[in-house]
Each structure stands twice: as C-alpha cells, then as structure tokens.
C-alpha cells in the first residue's frame, strides 16, 4: 500500500471573475505515475502551478506528506518546494552551459563540487546528453533542450516530479526517449510523477492512475485500466473516444 504524498482538498482558483479550477479533490501516492488528462485550456497548468506552489489557490487546501502548505510560511514552502521539481512545456534555458543549467538546483542547495559533477554527469547520461556539458544551452535543439531541462529537474532526486505537457512539442523519437526516462526514473528512484497531457496514448503507455479535467472540474479519477476500459463518467468516455466534448 502506497502512502499519500500530495492531497488536494476542495481546491479552487479564480483569476478575477474567471473561474479556472472548481472544487478539485485529488490524492497522489508515493511512487506512482499519475496522469492529468484534458484538452488545452482546462486548467492543467494552473493546477500544476498550485501543486508546485508557484500560485496560491483561491480556496481549498493543499497537503504535502500530511503537512498543510496552504498559507504556510515562505520557509516551510521552500522546504516543500525543494522536494519537488517541475518541467514546463517549453523549457527555460539559463544563459550558460548545459552543465551549469543542470547543476543549478544542486548549486543553490550548496552541494559540494565533486558531488555536483558526479550527479550532473549521471543525469546527463540518463537523458542522453553526455558529452554536451560544455555546450551553450541555448544552442541545443528543441528535443535536446527538453531533455536537458529533464536532467535539471531530476538531478537533485526530488520526491515528486511535475511534468506539464513535456512532450507536446517534440518529435516521436524525443517523445519515446522522454517516456523511457520517465519510466526509468520511477523504476530506479521511486520518484512520484504527475504528468499533464492531452495525449491519451501516452497516458496508456506510462501512467498507473489518471484524472480527467474538463472546464476546471476533475470529473473522474481512476486507474488507467478503468479509465480506458470502464469509465464511470460519460464525459470521460467521450474524451477517451476523441469526441468533441469541449
């Protein structure tokens, strides 16, 4: 039985009068790959930003390892944030070398130089970028840049990895590579992975459980088998079948 890592309770988010998320309830267990599915613009990124403490929810509560983060102090939030990592749809590259980009998370944690080198090289091997460490990050191709961002996200062994549509702009070869890395990280390190995607085939390939988000509402959370074979909500079935429900 896996223990609960993140719990979201009655969470809502509004930007002015625009309601983006409504009464979200979700529980994510340690070591699982949880897929948050839904078409573009339904609030997946907003939910991820709240989970990563980049945004404050308008209502509801957020728990990490049983401790409430909503309304926590900056210091408490930093400790929680340091256990997480997030990968954006478009990777943000710092204007320096690949090595320094990947090492960034370790440097701010004041890890010693030898350990940094060892961990960075290991992360670069995992994402297939060994030998590129001295290259300027901004000269990498799109796929390489996303893999470098992936290495930067996993280099300090976070407890949870939030992947916000990490493969949506990549070619099939890079998509396959990223999916392999996701499975490997979970298998070797036991990292909990939450992935936002609108690619249902990808979900089928890599996720254990999933949730469908439609118009800011989480309509169903279930195992991947149940979602694809016996969905409880008619809208889930329509989404899986690719029908226009939004």
């Amino acid at each position: 039985m896996h223990s609960e890592l993140i719990r979201v309770q009655d969470l809502g988010k509004s930007f002015g009068k625009r309601v983006v998320l409504k009464k979200i309830n979700i529980s994510i267990n340690e070591g699982e790959i949880f897929a948050l599915m839904g078409p573009s613009g339904v609030g997946k990124t907003t939910l991820f930003r709240i989970l990563n403490l980049l945004e404050k929810p308008s209502e509801g509560r957020l728990f990490f390892r049983g401790s409430e983060l909503t309304g926590g102090t900056i210091c408490e939030n930093i400790n929680a944030r340091r256990s997480m990592s997030m990968l954006f749809q478009t990777p943000c590259l710092l204007n320096t070398t690949v090595f320094n980009n990947v090492a960034f998370g370790l440097m701010i944690r004041k890890v010693d130089k030898n350990t940094i080198r060892e961990k960075v090289m290991n992360a670069l091997i995992i994402v297939g970028l060994e030998g590129n460490e001295e290259q300027k990050a901004r000269t990498l191709s799109g796929g390489e840049a996303q893999r470098m961002a992936f290495a930067r996200a996993i280099v300090y062994d976070p407890d949870i990895l939030l992947l916000d549509e990490p493969t949506s702009s990549l070619d099939p070869a890079n998509v396959a590579m990223i999916e392999e890395i996701i499975k490997r990280i979970r298998h070797e390190r036991g990292t909990t992975i939450v992935i936002a995607t609108h690619n249902i085939y990808q979900v089928k390939r890599i996720a254990d459980r999933g949730g469908i988000l439609l118009n800011g509402e989480l309509i169903e959370v279930n195992s991947i088998e149940r979602i694809f074979e016996a969905p409880e909500d008619a809208r889930t079935k329509a989404f899986i079948n690719g029908e226009m429900i939004y």
Binding site: N52, L53, L54, I74, I78, R81, R82, M84, S85, M86, F88, T90, C92, L94, N95, T96, F104, G105, I108, R109, R152, A153, Y156, L162
Partner: protein, 244 residues
C-alpha cells in the same frame, strides 16, 4: 590654402602630437579618463543596486522614481552644470567644500548625469529577463535571493552595456564640466603648444578652447583620441550585445 588642405595638414600634425606623446595632450586625456572613469564607477555603484531595488522591492513612490530616472536620462548637461555650480560656489550652500573648479566637481557633475542613464538601461535589462526564468528558479527550489542572483546573471550583458553607455556619455560630455571645472590648465607652454598641463581641462572642453584659439591641429588630435575612446567603448558594447 583650401579648408580640406587645412584639415589634412591638421590631421598630420595631430598624429605627430599623439605619437610624440605630447605632455599637454596626454595630461588632458588623463583628466578625461580619470574624471569619467571615477564618475562611471561611482554611478555604477549607485545605479545598479538602485535598479535592483526598484525591480525586486515594492515601495511607495516606485513609479514616481522610475519616471524621475527616465527624465534624468535626458537631463540637459548645462542645467546640471549650472545647478552644481550654484551649489558649490563660495556663496552657495556647499561652498565650504571648496569644490568649485576642481576635478571632484567635474566627477560630481558627470555622476549626476550618468547615474540615471546606467540605472535606466539596467532596469530595462533586468526587466527583460523572462518570467519563465523566475518560475524555473522557484521550481528548482530557489529562494528570493537565488532569484535576484539569477536575474542579475541573466541580465549581465545588458548591465555591462549600461555601464559602457554611461562611460560613453561621460567621456563625450562638455557643458556641465566646462561650467563646474572651469577648463583650467597650469600656466606655461608644453612642447610649444597649449598652456601647460591640464588641471580640469578634459578632451571635450579642450577641443572647444583650442578651436576657438585657432589651434585646429591640437583640436583634431584631441578629437581623434576622444573618438577612439568612444569607438572602443561602442565596440565593447556591441561585443557584449552579440554575446547575449
């Protein structure tokens, strides 16, 4: 003799003065570099922390301060010179400092003129760092301090450019330093030209004086040095921009 021949002969004589390391020319160049260099260092030490404060802190009057800085970027130099002059003359409120007609007064004038320039360009460079950089630092577990350091690092080329723009403006400035410095050289001729080694005479103020005296070759020599200095700074600024 046509004006072109006059100019041509002036250029030849100018190069003779430069390559013979004429003490008058050297002392004027030294004053320019010393005054503008010191003013740029002091302005940088004020302007970049000020730009950081404006970017990262929220305080009352922030927008008014930004407006003030933007206005300061186009401040007329003669007005600054006049204002400082009135402050430091013996009858002025800071007359006891005995700063009038000194290099310190010239540094003060240039400091006031270029601080808004450096601050304004630095502000733009820091603000140009994209929001995803801030988000990325946060998601990797960074603190507010890490965000400030990363943003400054990302904006580094823009910050260098701001300092070089300030130095360029200081070197090319004439109105303010003419008023507060007095364009003074020690008495006695040096190498057959000028009035002696420079005390508060800079490249720009010397050019105005030598031209009015009809010493065109000396003016051209000073002009060549001035253009070379400003050109070097621009080449350096372009180099940083290309690196970015």
């Amino acid at each position: 003799m046509s004006s072109i021949d006059f100019l041509f002969q002036g250029i030849i004589k100018a190069f003779e003065l430069i390559f013979s390391l004429n003490p008058y020319i050297i002392s004027i160049t030294g004053v320019s570099i010393r005054v503008s260099g010191t003013a740029t260092i002091l302005a940088t030490l004020t302007a970049i922390p000020l730009a950081c404060g404006i970017t990262f802190l929220n305080f009352k009057g922030k927008q008014a301060l930004i407006t003030l800085i933007n206005t300061g970027m186009g401040l007329p130099s003669v007005f600054v010179g006049l204002f400082i002059f009135l402050m430091i003359v013996p009858a002025g409120p800071f007359g006891f400092l005995k700063m009038y007609y000194t290099q310190e007064a010239m540094i003060l004038a240039q400091y006031i003129l270029i601080t808004p320039v450096i601050c304004g360009i630095s502000l733009a460079a820091i603000k140009a760092v994209p929001q995803p950089v801030i988000d990325t630092v946060y998601t990797l577990g960074g603190s507010r301090k890490d965000i400030v350091i990363t943003m400054l690092r990302e904006a580094r080329f823009g910050l260098f450019t701001s300092v070089l723009a300030g130095l360029g403006r200081a070197l090319a400035e004439v109105g303010a330093i003419l008023i507060v410095g007095g364009n003074i050289a020690y008495t006695g001729s040096v190498g057959g030209i000028g009035e002696g080694l420079s005390y508060t005479r800079s490249l720009t103020t010397a050019i105005t004086l030598e031209t009015s005296k009809g010493e065109v070759s000396t003016s051209i020599a000073l002009g060549i040095i001035l253009i070379s200095l400003v050109l070097s700074i621009n080449i350096l600024a372009n180099f940083f921009q290309r690196m970015e």
